[in-house]
Symmetry: C2
Subunit: 223 residues, 2 copies
DNA sequence: ACGCGATGTATCGATTCGATGTAACGACAC
DNA sequence: GTGTCGTTACATCGAATCGATACATCGCGT
């Protein structure tokens, strides 16, 4: 859900569309960002719902000395044209969005919804985890863990399926192997995260330091 | 692209929509399959393009003894209603699709297109790699390798970005770490795949055995 | 005899993507 | 100063896809 991403980013800072997309690109690891074709409609949607609101609209920086009257005339003409709505492109004039109280509520709602098991959504939720209370955060991690375990069982069932054995060539086996390894790796990472979370909760919990140690893990097996 | 998936599966065996979806679910690892909302339109599209064609349409199994004349009346009535186009659902009557010569050409085209760097697409391509000549297959793997290296450099640049240092909390660092590890892991897997491919090409190349050894790797570093 | 879950085809509205258009701005060249 | 190029920025379009839902039949268990 793109709504989650927008609200999460706007909670931390007021931003305009273009900047929003850039930040999302960093968060979601370069690829797998969102396109303008979904971002702008989503912003309009959220604004209509009252979850965000336009804060500022700079049509022209007043400090810039325009020197000539002709330039001023031109700008005024263009403003009139734009106002008339006869032209598509609106040119420069960044719309800065901010989150509302309602938007903040919606964010917590989206962060906690247990029905979404999407990978992208989980990444976003971790990124915005500081906005969740400790209990909800741990619950989120545990739910993810259950989901990953479910997938691993799925995979194992498929690996030891006598039916497909015949029409399975080496490349398919390689893919299966990759999936299994990736899954195991993800589980190990998640377990480290949970462990760090637990030990941070025990004492006073400095939420800004606990980077999980890169080698620790507590992965039980079901052989 | 869903076209790739459909054509690839139909090359190996004639199938109907529902079965197609099931196979795709297995191939793309349970989640990340496709929905009927894209599958059926895609099949119609491909049929219009002449890449696939409906082979068989079983409307009713003739061996089933319907015993009563009333049942026959009812079925006839329903057939009439369906024919009139006033009703949406068309009920049972599986449409089995097969690939055409044109479809086979299109498949090779889709398997080789160098502009698609999508993860899903790569997985599908590996799954259907046996339909590619040796050279094209190796090229595909090498292109993937380049793409993964590009992403790794992207990630490293982001890791050592002094600008973001301030507003980066522990969860963001954990996410970044996860991405880096996943990427390294994927690269190692790919290198094993390439290695297996190369050694298979040297001799007679039994394309059905060479599963890459789980521990080998030849990952050069850019420290 | 009957209901219920699996198998099947199909469509709808909403969302998202990818491409494209428009435009202002900064910077540098000349 | 005035081209014109690259970056920033907003916006929309058509196509692809999703998730939900409808409709219909088969087969099974009870």
């Amino acid at each position: 859900m793109i709504d989650l991403a927008i609200l999460g980013l706007l909670t931390e800072q007021e931003l305009h569309g273009y900047e929003l997309k850039k930040r999302l690109g960093e968060l979601l690891s370069s690829r797998a960002s969102v396109s303008f074709g979904s971002l702008y409609p989503a912003l309009a949607r959220l604004e209509a719902q009252g979850a965000v609101k336009a804060v500022e609209e700079r049509t022209s920086v007043p400090s810039a000395p325009m020197s000539g009257s002709l330039v001023g005339e031109l700008a005024a003409f263009r403003a009139r044209v734009r106002e008339s709505g006869l032209v598509k492109g609106t040119g420069r004039g960044k719309k800065v969005y901010g989150i509302t109280e309602h938007g903040r509520e919606r964010l917590v709602e989206l962060l906690s919804d247990p029905d979404v098991t999407d990978d992208r959504a989980f990444t976003l939720r971790v990124a915005f985890a500081p906005h969740l209370p400790d209990a909800a955060r741990l619950e989120l991690f545990e739910r993810r863990r259950t989901e990953l375990l479910r997938r691993r069982d799925d995979l194992r069932r498929r690996e030891s399926d006598p039916g497909r054995a015949g029409r399975t060539h080496s490349y398919l086996r390689a893919l299966l192997e990759r999936d299994a390894e990736n899954l195991a790796h993800d589980l190990a990472w998640l377990d480290r995260l949970i462990e760090a979370e637990r030990s941070a909760d025990h004492n006073g919990a400095d939420r800004s330091i606990p980077v999980p140690a890169p080698q620790a893990h507590l992965q039980e097996e079901t052989p």
